[in-house]
């Protein structure tokens, strides 16, 4: 199985490089592109602290979505919060020693995995049954849901049905840090799970998953409402003044 191990090692190096460089590029692009006008959706906080609080509510609670559509909010929040717990649970494969909070979160990670799959299923059902959402769905919108559901289901299957050698998996990933490729168990479910995760990492910076960094740069959410108090001007707009 040396070939498989080598393939997956390369795959994960590649995926990690794509994910990191892609995201760094996009975040730099967002950060460097000026926002020439004050456009917070009002009522908006007037201070920086207020903006941070608003952003936290958006990131943690999906406040705007809650006001917009309760069903999408329930499923969307279940999925994201579930994924968050799952990610925390999975950290144990990537750090040694495992931090105490990560040990505590282990059982919740399993519930998170279930919530994630249920949430995704709910979101997918909407794409078929709500005519407006069906109209705006491209093939990629379905595929990304399929990808995430498959990742979730293959993970849960490994937990409950076909166990795999998690110690070996951890050894494999810790080995990658030191460019020391250790054998990866060859259970088909595990290979599928890992393949899909790598695909997700590669797709991330080139797809709508950019909503994750995007939210933080959204001028309608991250600007303080203080245009009369402080003059806001972009560099290219300042140039107009010197002409």
């Amino acid at each position: 199985m040396a070939f498989l191990t080598g393939f997956y090692a390369l795959l994960f190096y590649f995926a990690a490089v794509v994910l990191v460089t892609g995201l760094v590029f996009k975040i730099q692009q967002y950060a460097r592109t000026p926002a020439p006008l004050k456009i917070p959706t009002t009522p908006a906080p007037t201070t920086r602290g207020g903006v941070i609080f608003r952003m936290m509510r958006e990131v943690v609670l999906f406040e705007s979505l809650f006001r917009g559509n309760k069903w999408t909010w329930i499923f969307g929040w279940m999925f994201h919060f579930g994924l968050f717990l799952v990610t925390l649970r999975h950290l144990r494969y990537f750090i040694e020693p495992v931090w105490f909070p990560i040990q505590l979160v282990q059982p919740f990670g399993i519930y998170g995995g279930m919530a994630m799959v249920v949430g995704l299923a709910g979101l997918w059902v909407r794409r078929f049954f709500v005519d407006r959402v069906r109209y705006i769905s491209a093939p990629s919108d379905h595929l990304i849901l399929a990808l995430l559901i498959l990742i979730g289901c293959s993970g849960l299957m490994m937990k409950f049905v076909f166990h795999t050698d998690v110690v070996a998996i951890k050894t494999f990933f810790l080995g990658l840090y030191a460019f020391d490729v250790k054998p990866l168990p060859s259970d088909p479910l595990l290979l599928l799970h890992l393949l899909l995760v790598a695909v997700l990492m590669i797709v991330f910076p080139y797809s709508k998953l950019l909503h994750a960094p995007g939210l933080f740069f959204s001028p309608s959410r991250n600007q303080a409402d203080n245009p009369r108090e402080r003059r806001h001007i972009a560099p290219w707009a300042r140039q107009l003044e010197q002409e």
């Binding site: 996009k26 692009q29 967002y30 592109t33 000026p34 926002a35 020439p36 006008l37 004050k38 456009i39 959706t41 009002t42 009522p43 908006a44 906080p45 007037t46 958006e58 999906f62 705007s64 979505l65 006001r67 917009g68 559509n69 999408t72 969307g76 979101l123 709500v130 005519d131 407006r132 959402v133 109209y135 705006i136 769905s137 491209a138 093939p139 990629s140 919108d141 080139y206 797809s207 709508k208 950019l210 909503h211 995007g214 939210l215 740069f217 959204s218 001028p219 309608s220 959410r221 409402d225 245009p227 009369r228 108090e229 402080r230 003059r231 806001h232 972009a234 290219w236 707009a237 107009l240």
Partner: protein, 512 residues
Amino acid sequence: MAKATFEVPALTQYTEIPAVTPDAMAHSAPFVAKADFQKPLGFPGGLVDDWQTTAIAKMRELLGRYRSLQVYLDSCVKCGACTDKCHYYLGTKDPKNMPVGRQDLMRKVYRRYFTLAGRFFPKLVGAEDFTKEVLDDWYSYYHQCSQCRRCSVFCPYGIDTAEISMAAREIMDSIGVGQKYCNEIIGKVYKIGNNLGLPGPALEDTLEGLEEDVYDETGVKVRYPIDEEGAEILLVTPSADFFAEPHVDGLIGYGKVFHEAGVTWTLSSHASEAANFGMFIGSYANMRRVAQRIREAAIQLKVKRIVFGECGHAWRVAYSFLNTLAGPWDFLDPRYPVPQHICEFTFDLIQQGRLTFDKSENDDKVLTYHDSCNVARASRMGDTPGGQFEIPRAIIRATCNHFYDMDEDTIRDRTFCCGGGGGLLTDDLMELRVKGAKPRLDALNNVMQEKGVTHMAAICAICKSQFTKVLPYYGMEMDQIVSLHQLVSNAIVLTGQGDGDLEDEDETDEAA
């Protein structure tokens, strides 16, 4: 009821979400600007030969200039939260009037030319070449967006379709496909000073007439000055306020408030327009040029403060952008915000107890209040967030005995656009305007039935003109829309008013 060549929707108790009906409004498009209207704004006169390349280059430039555009085109996950929020979708059933549907007209082009996925797998991610058909769709549907920002309230990432339709119009202008209504008007502002093309002498006549009317009515000499150097306050107001109903009743009200405040004020014939249609067409350069007139007028007239009259998008440009476009305002009195809204000015006086009202003057009306979209979601009044909702309502309560709000889902930051904002207030878009007004009028009709509301107050020239025109299509009366400062004007008791026989005369007038 006004005659319509299209089917006017029936009002419903609550606005229902219609089933998707593709291309229901594909036939709607405003008149295209001729070369005469394009050139003064610095745009090509007609569709340029290499329009596709030029448009993509322009899009690249805008992506580099506007973080909003870049982030919004990338971030949409097609969750659908916005799909039932646009009044034009609710009124027309056309899925390209769903905010995401409208954004996708640009997003598919963006993906095709600017993203890896769209370049290699266009079908998979819904990317498309920028063809003439797509351009036609742009022209049609980016002129079915009133840039009211209602979608941005509910989007989990705050994606604001207004930003995208502004960019689309800027791109179309850059290849010579402009909209006649907006571009002709901006030209008039450059040439004459206001949207309506009213020259200085006509304004002077009108204002003199107002002074006489107010004197006849109240016996008090209230002044309506223009171009008076050294006045304390420069009033910048939409030009509709000079003659259109019910706008002019608002202007009369501003004058009475200034009179009671004991401040000197003036209008300017150079900046005789608060509106700034440069925003509607997404042109920073034109928006800035229009805004600079206000700075020039303030300097020329040596004023200390700037106050804006009732106008929605004008207040957005004034409150949110004026400091950016025409500031800094360090030569004005630092004790006051620049600019101030007339409602802030009136409200301050009310709080100080400096205005006397006879509320019974408005007893012939039961009021509701329409939050204008740009005031509600793109600006503020007063010191605290949400002041833009509370201050106008406080003024109505101070001047009227009977006031009821419309359904909570349709007011404050969830308010529905009147259907005529964003450069769509033109007769060649009448069908769109009538259908787009439905959600607002559903809610109005509801309070008319349940609370006996007779009139709706607004603080936006576009809202007032739009409702005046559209209400009759739904079997309502055009004068059911009133200016907020018209209510102030009715109720205000001027110092020295009613000391003579005048009040008696008034009463005989009314009896007759």
